[in-house]
Amino acid sequence: MRKHEEDFYIGYLSSAPKGLASVTRLRILILIAFALIAGGAITALQSKFWPGVFEFGTYRDFEGMILERPYPTLLVKRPEAGDHFPYSRYLLVNPFKFGADETVQGLNGQTVSLKGQLVFQDGKTMIEVAPESVKPLGNSAEPVSLPSSEWGRHTLRGEIVDSKCYLGAMNPGNLKTHKACAVRCISGGIPPVFLVRQKEGAALYFLMVDEEGNQVNEACLPFVAEPLEITGNVRQEGGMLILYANPETYIRL
């Protein structure tokens, strides 16, 4: 009893009774251990990261031809890439959560130089154009025709992501927790991409347009980051898969 008596704790005195102090110390250590174990477990159990890269702070120079439609694109000549289509095709976006529509306005078909940072993953590459860096160099000498092939009508299951974050500006840059950010990006003009995971092999990325080939940024917003089924015509144009489908026919799963 006497021992217990001494164990009465009074917080405003400057030291606690000895017996109580050691019990308390042990309990605090146990609590902290619990917290750190929980934190360690959460750290280890995160899994939805993808090998995307955003070359933040590294500006490179590019020279090539602008395509305004369906989404701002730069075609850069690669003589070493063979005769079939000797170009690299980059989607262009502006810094933060904005597309490059205004940056390339009126430059369709023109050769330009620009500076930008690369965002890439899985062999898909995008350029975040540095502000004010686009310099027109005149009309392209030879008009480029994009080699295209029809893949026919397909029904695909996947998720709408914003191409910039998904490729690497954010990570994880998809799924539920990323929805708000993807909505901001797509609403700001970043090209929406339909991401289809296959049972085996690499994921497929489809640039999304409506049946007439127009941008669908506004129309697809309510569907972003949700599991969807989309039926439409698929076409490969200059190395990029494009999905032509009416947003009113997207089906939530």
Partner: protein, 350 residues
Amino acid sequence: MSHGYQFVGWNRQKKLYDLTLLGAVLSYLLLFIVGSIVLHPDAVIDMIILRALGTCAFVLLHVILAIGPLARLDRRWLPLLYNRRHMGVTMFTLALLHGLLSLLTYHGFGDTHPLVSLFTSNTRYDSLSQFPFQPLGFFALILLFLMAATSHDFWLATLTPPIWKTLHMGVYVAYGLLLGHVGFGFLQTETHPALFGLLAAGCLTLLALHLAAAGKETKLDTQDGFQQDGEGYLKLCEVLEIPNNRGRMFFVGGDRIAVFRYDGRVSAISNACQHQNGPLGEGRVIDGLVTCPWHGFQYDPATGASPPPFTEKVPTFNLKVLNGSVWVHPNPNPPGTYVNPGLVEEPGHA
């Protein structure tokens, strides 16, 4: 001996408490951030930091909510309860940083004001799997802010205890909102079953502790069948069943009464401390004053009043000692009413 919120300084124990808390929080953040960079080299650093902050706040909230019932089940947890306010403010700070960083990362730098985007970027309130989880975090943060901002005893005195206590019960509402925030958010993206298990374990532990603590109090609350005399006094116990300078709690007539033996005398006052409802019956009589086990508020056992300059008063109960038994009248006197202490008839004190 007298003290109060105006005068309590930054003593060694408080410093130790704060240093330990700070050390634990920093260790957690460091472990999470370095661990994530090593295990997941592809992750973007903002994501890691905002997850470290969010989970740290959430884990700390579990600790905070566990300490209340733990202290009711075993008094030796009380030293942790004493400065729980500092844990609360720390938890709020972590949550605020997490919220701000999330707002900036997910909603900032775009075509819409972040606070507008917070409520308009996802409106699928009709779907469980797509339910907007970020507004839940936002409202929890507002509640935590109100509590952190009013956590000082100055606000307890200003708002009056009933309002203050109601406001601070809001922590359970905040916890509920955060269960939704994490369940409809993080756990929909990161779907490892062990993460779900971890959340369930935390939630069920809190539930079990609260039920156990409530069970202990119900046992006290269902005491019954005291012998009653012609004047309405109830025979509660024998004097010698109360250890010297300590109290015993009884549930009588809808009230909890704390009966103390000290200095050869016996007095009965209401069990609920005016500060935050601490159980006075679990306190001690120190220098002739009943001292609350939670934060040390003191009351004269004969009058129920705090010594000057303090003004807290609790109700007293009429009491008599007959043949070594304590008889208490169940009707409370107005707070601060002097009642003649009963005299203990034992050798050396009579």
